[in-house]
């Protein structure tokens, strides 16, 4: 039974990465109608930027948490301005193919220069060590990841669903022409939104750098799971993707305990089941 509690907690930790990443995807899909396949590559870039900041600039983890998402976010905005904006109004497939291509290019470039085994990034001193909870030894860093990503997730949800800026955003996706008529610069808002989504991916990248290796393919595996999370939660639903992210982390953790061999397929089995029963996802609206 103690082992079960431990697995639940570990699942929650993984869930926080899923939640952060699927949140970014949901924001981008909800506001831009783009299925952002480059999300995994941008997550990887976040980790690499943190690595470079530390090793080339001597800038520590805490600053990297702030700076890396901004740098990668700007990179994302350049992508949006130069490429993605021309796909607005076209079929989803075009955006998907373009971002998928971008992901392959970005990963390829990093792999060419850094190989596949990855680079070390150590846990900041303050967060080293762990505490004994009785049923498990919880590394402080993992606890930090859960708390921090919960705050970021709720903050983002609040920003989009409860503030005036968020209201503009949601209005702009419903009827861009009308919102423009009110004197709001919709294209700029779209660009900033993409930057925000990308920044969230980069933030998840920085958070995961001390846990996993900083390596070019780190986003490749996680992105497929995250897509499943978004599909299960309902495309474009902010709260849906947050809750599903955490929930799936827990379910995956339990699978690792009861039947480890299936741990990387259980999410997809769930996805199939959800699509069969409720094709719009658990919280999704009908299109």
């Amino acid at each position: 039974m103690q082992a079960l509690y431990a697995q639940l907690l570990v699942g929650l930790i993984n869930g926080s990465f899923y939640a952060l990443l699927s949140l970014g995807l949901a924001v981008i899909f909800g506001m831009l109608n783009i299925i952002n396949f480059a999300h995994g590559a941008l997550y990887m870039m976040g980790a690499f930027v943190a690595y470079f900041l530390l090793n080339l600039g001597g800038i520590n983890y805490w600053w990297a948490l702030l700076i890396a998402p901004v740098i990668v976010g700007i990179f994302g905005m350049i992508l949006e301005r130069t490429m993605l904006q021309w796909l607005a109004g076209l079929d989803h497939l075009y955006g998907l193919l373009l971002t998928f291509g971008l992901a392959l290019i970005i990963q390829g470039v990093f792999q060419n220069y850094f190989g596949s085994s990855g680079l070390p990034y150590s846990i900041p001193d303050v967060l080293k060590g762990g505490m004994n909870l009785g049923f498990m030894y919880l590394p402080i860093y993992r606890a930090w990841v859960v708390i921090f990503s919960l705050i970021v997730c709720i903050g983002t949800w609040y920003l989009i669903e409860r503030t005036r800026l968020g209201a503009y955003l949601r209005a702009a996706t419903e009827n861009p022409t009308l919102v423009r008529a009110f004197g709001i610069n919709v294209p700029r808002m779209i660009t900033l939104t993409y930057g925000l989504g990308v920044g969230l991916a980069a933030l998840a990248g920085v958070l995961s750098a001390p846990i996993n290796q900083v390596r070019p393919l780190m986003g490749e595996n996680v992105i497929i799971v995250v897509f499943a999370v978004v599909v299960i939660g309902g495309m474009g639903s902010i709260m849906g993707s947050i809750i599903t992210g955490f929930a799936l982390g827990v379910i995956e953790g339990l699978t690792k305990y009861f039947y480890p061999e299936a741990s990387n397929t259980v999410v997809f089995v769930l996805m199939v089941l959800v699509l069969l029963v409720k094709p719009t996802g658990l919280t999704g609206r009908a299109a």
């Binding site: 393919l217 595996n221 480890p260």
Partner: protein, 406 residues
């Protein structure tokens, strides 16, 4: 009419004569380096293995003797079906004579069958499974560098003898992990130890915390990592995070490569004990080779033992071809010649190719240095012991290879 027939006969005779002449001193060789070029094993094999093959061609001296040697490379993406498709195409269309490297035991065993069917030569350096020279051995296969038996009987044995008598395995869920766990378990039980549990994790897992917690609660003295590449580095890194080593349990990295140590960083990797058969900083010859190698690598990496094995395996293959005088394009014949010549090369030293295809050479027990002991970017290992080839690898009497029973 008569003239036409005699002309025809003459023509046929000439063609036959020239054809037989061509095969008598056919000095063309084509090498295929098959590896994981972009996935989790790409740094320990991959482009570096192709480079090692290229260097072997240059150093063989065969070109000066009139040989033409071509090299092509392929990416098996860690998928047996892709690996066998490439191998088939190489033999059928590209007329490849020898396939080298092939990390990933699953792919390696599949390709083993293709090479046998096509009567090519297979010099495997990248795969670990000892099945290649046991149940699945082939007269076309030579297995260089290492295997699961060797890893179990060096690192595994040393740890059990030092008191680590209860084990929990983290095993990669495919042919390699299964073979390594099986061979290590045999050593543990033979030395009076016990395996108390284990988990099989999918290949290329990024989060090991669930598995590590299970290992922790098993209270086993040793947590055996029967995985490789990125899976091993993530296991070690996260084990440190969960305080496993501090809690008194010991990690056994049964298979660890130079590039893995680089990826983990000395801070976390220090003190790990493991076995390799090649390290760049062993002697003047290995240093000279490694320096040349590293200068040609894009990221300046030193060679791993797998890449060194590709180089040495090919050098030995070229020796056999040179002794034969021409390329018979007959895998069984060339491999038989390779078995009849003792191996001796600058990287692995002296040894032999046994009748089952296993190459024996020294194996070395290493310990990862402390950050304070390391003098350069690739200065990672301390030598703590040497095991001779006949002790490290499967004794022929124990090999289950059907070739030996003839």
């Amino acid at each position: 009419m008569k003239h036409t027939i005699s002309a025809l006969l003459l023509g046929t005779a000439l063609t036959l004569a020239s054809a037989s002449l061509a095969s008598a001193d056919d000095k063309n060789v084509k090498i295929g380096a098959l590896s994981d070029q972009s996935g989790l094993y790409a740094d320990l094999g991959g482009p570096g293995s192709t480079l090692a093959a290229q260097m072997a061609i240059e150093d063989s001296g065969l070109k000066a003797k009139g040989w033409t040697i071509d090299l092509i490379s392929g990416d098996h993406q860690n998928k047996p079906d892709i690996g066998t498709t490439i191998a088939r195409q190489w033999f059928d269309v590209d007329k490849v004579d020898v396939v080298v490297d092939v990390p990933n035991s699953g792919v390696a065993l599949a390709v083993n069958n293709v090479v046998k069917e096509k009567n090519g030569v297979y010099i495997n350096s990248g795969a670990a499974t000892s099945d290649l020279t046991n149940a699945q051995c082939s007269p076309n296969t030579v297995h260089w560098t290492y295997d699961t038996y060797m890893l179990a009987h060096t690192t595994g044995q040393a740890l059990v003898k030092a008191g680590g008598d209860t084990w929990f395995f983290l095993t990669a869920d495919y042919a390699f992990g299964a073979a390594l766990e099986r061979d290590t378990t045999a050593v543990i039980t033979a030395n009076g130890g016990k395996v108390v549990g284990g988990v099989k994790h999918p290949l290329n897992t990024s989060d090991f915390s669930s598995f590590l917690l299970q290992a922790q609660s098993s209270k086993a003295k040793i947590i055996g990592l029967a995985n490789a590449g990125g899976d091993t580095t993530n296991s070690i890194k996260q084990a440190a995070e969960f305080g496993i080593v501090k809690g008194g349990q010991k990690l056994a990295a049964l298979l660890l490569f130079l590039t893995d140590v680089k990826a983990i960083g000395l801070e976390t990797a220090q003190g790990l004990n493991f076995t390799e058969t090649f390290y760049w900083d062993m002697n003047d010859q290995t240093r000279a080779f490694s320096k040349r190698f590293s200068e040609k690598m894009k990221n300046g990496a030193m060679p791993t033992m797998v890449q060194a094995g590709v180089y040495s395996g090919l050098l030995h293959y070229f020796k056999a071809l040179d002794a034969l005088g021409s390329n018979p394009h007959d895998g069984v014949k060339v491999v038989a010649k390779m078995k009849s010549i003792p191996t001796d090369d600058p990287l692995f030293g002296k040894g032999e190719v046994q009748a089952n295809g296993r190459v024996t050479h020294n194996a070395y027990l290493f310990e990862v240095k402390k950050p304070s002991e390391s003098k350069g970017p690739w200065d990672f290992y301390k030598l703590v012991g040497t095991v001779s080839g006949d002790q490290a690898f499967t004794p022929l009497a124990q090999s289950t290879c059907p070739l030996l029973k003839k």
